[in-house]
């Protein structure tokens, strides 16, 4: 026998289930009054510096059906690439948003400030991106991915450059549909399956 390690093992995940909205966004789920408002209603407050953008999309399963029950969380820095809590970060950018697919259409909308580039441990910069975490019934462990932007220079991004099959890079890049408007679909499985992350 050898000495025991002092480290612990992570608690295993379980699916968030069909009623995740009750716990995370109860007012949206039709349970008003427990909290003054749902957590993470917006990642920005009035006066956030930078370009305000809207990203619309759907979470699509392997049959091509848009999930009606998905919940997504986003995390991002401010327009200068600073995360909430860091020195000189924009006080109007919390960086965190919770949003759900529409019960009828399956579409989600995220209105936020376009993030700035953030450093990488090796010293370079990562291209501007928003981190996403997706949970729903049938997703046994939350799925992580990122939104990059087609009108930014993504050429030096260390994560995108790791994707061997270059056409798959496109699954992480939001397409511009108008001034400040983007489309970003998340495909859980099948043709053009989104690149999911293990970071």
């Amino acid at each position: 026998m050898v000495q025991a390690l002092d480290s612990l093992t992570e608690t295993p995940s379980q699916t968030a289930g069909p009623y995740v909205h009750i716990g995370c966004i109860p007012s949206f789920a039709g349970i008003p009054g427990v909290y003054p408002e749902d957590l993470g209603l917006s990642s920005i407050a009035q006066g956030a510096k930078g370009q305000i953008i809207t990203i619309t999309g759907a979470v699509i399963d392997g049959t091509g059906w848009a999930l009606r029950d998905a919940m997504i969380e986003s995390w991002q820095p401010d327009a200068a690439g600073r995360f909430a809590g860091e020195a000189e970060a924009d006080p109007a950018v919390s960086g965190f948003c919770r949003f759900a697919a529409d019960k009828d259409s399956g579409l989600f909308t995220l209105t936020t400030v376009k993030p700035g580039a953030v450093p990488h441990r090796s010293g370079g910069l990562q291209a501007p991106h928003i981190s996403l975490w997706i949970v729903a019934r049938g997703i046994n462990i939350g799925l992580s991915t990122r939104i990059y932007f087609e009108d930014e220079d993504n050429s030096g991004d260390p994560l995108l450059s790791r994707i061997e099959q270059r056409p798959r890079v496109e699954t992480l890049i939001a397409k511009q549909t108008g001034e400040g408007q983007y489309r970003f679909d998340i495909r859980l499985q099948g043709e053009n399956e989104t690149v999911f992350l293990d970071l």
């Binding site: 992570e10 295993p12 379980q14 009623y19 716990g23 109860p26 860091e86 046994n140 939350g142 999911f196």
Partner: protein, 245 residues
């Protein structure tokens, strides 16, 4: 993020201790599980930072599900329980002041949700959600009622064991975790295809809360203990700090 600047990247996740994404016995996972491998890379500031929530967020009844949806002060119906435990990271350090959210069915096994039309009635005084922050040593507690088991559409006659859903933030977005707490002695655990998505029985057992009479209050409630371990970060004594962090 001043209290984490001496830490390195997140310890890579041990995927084998988690449920498999694709499991035919849990039918909804079949079209919702990615087929291609995940892209693995060392974590970056995007995963090593995360939202923080302050005490101003938390109302006095937020962690009391027996009363936080009560219309006239009447308690929710059911077996009164204290759910308590500690949030730690893989380095066995407590995770203080982090948000823990729970949600659950009522004592009859019915959720207050438009999509849940199970025969069991709604309890007018039970909403089914709560939240709290861990204290300086990582401890948390909720007062609630024991949720009922309920049937669900999967195979012809599948029932969920009694369970409470738990969401935990930690100090970085890469630690984000949602899981479920089961109850010691529930025979439905071994029949549940969602519990069975965890293939390592020892790991599944970590989701089963023991009865804890040391925290039970006589003539009031039973207690169940549920500790949670989040990912940790590697110690970096011999590594250079990230420029600008």
């Amino acid at each position: 993020m001043t209290d984490t600047t001496d830490l390195g990247p997140l310890i890579p996740r041990q995927r084998q201790i988690h449920p498999v994404p694709y499991d035919p016995d849990y039918k909804t996972s079949v079209p919702r599980s990615p087929k291609w491998p995940l892209l693995s890379m060392e974590s970056t500031p995007s995963e090593e930072t995360g939202p923080r929530f302050g005490h101003s967020l938390i109302g006095p009844l937020d962690n009391n599900l027996i009363l936080n949806f009560s219309k006239d002060g009447s308690p929710a119906i059911g077996e009164r329980i204290l759910m308590h435990g500690r949030v730690l990271d893989e380095n066995a350090r407590p995770v203080p002041h982090t948000l823990v959210e729970i949600w659950q069915a009522n004592a009859g096994g019915r959720y207050r949700h438009v999509k849940d039309n199970y025969l069991a009635p709604l309890d007018p005084n039970f909403g089914g959600c709560g939240r709290t922050l861990t204290d300086a040593d990582g401890y948390y507690q909720f007062l609630t009622i024991r949720p009922g088991a309920y049937p669900w559409p999967n195979r012809a006659n599948d029932w969920r064991p009694m369970h409470i859903h738990i969401s935990v933030f930690g100090y970085s977005f890469g630690q984000r975790l949602i899981t479920q707490m089961y109850f010691e002695g529930d025979p439905l655990i071994n029949r549940c295809p969602i519990a069975a998505t965890i293939k390592d029985r020892g790991q599944l057992d970590r989701l089963v809360a023991p009865l804890d009479m040391s925290r039970s209050r006589p003539l009031d409630y039973l207690a169940y203990k549920f500790d949670i371990v989040l990912r940790g970060r590697r110690q970096t004594m011999f590594e250079n700090k990230l420029e600008g962090m």
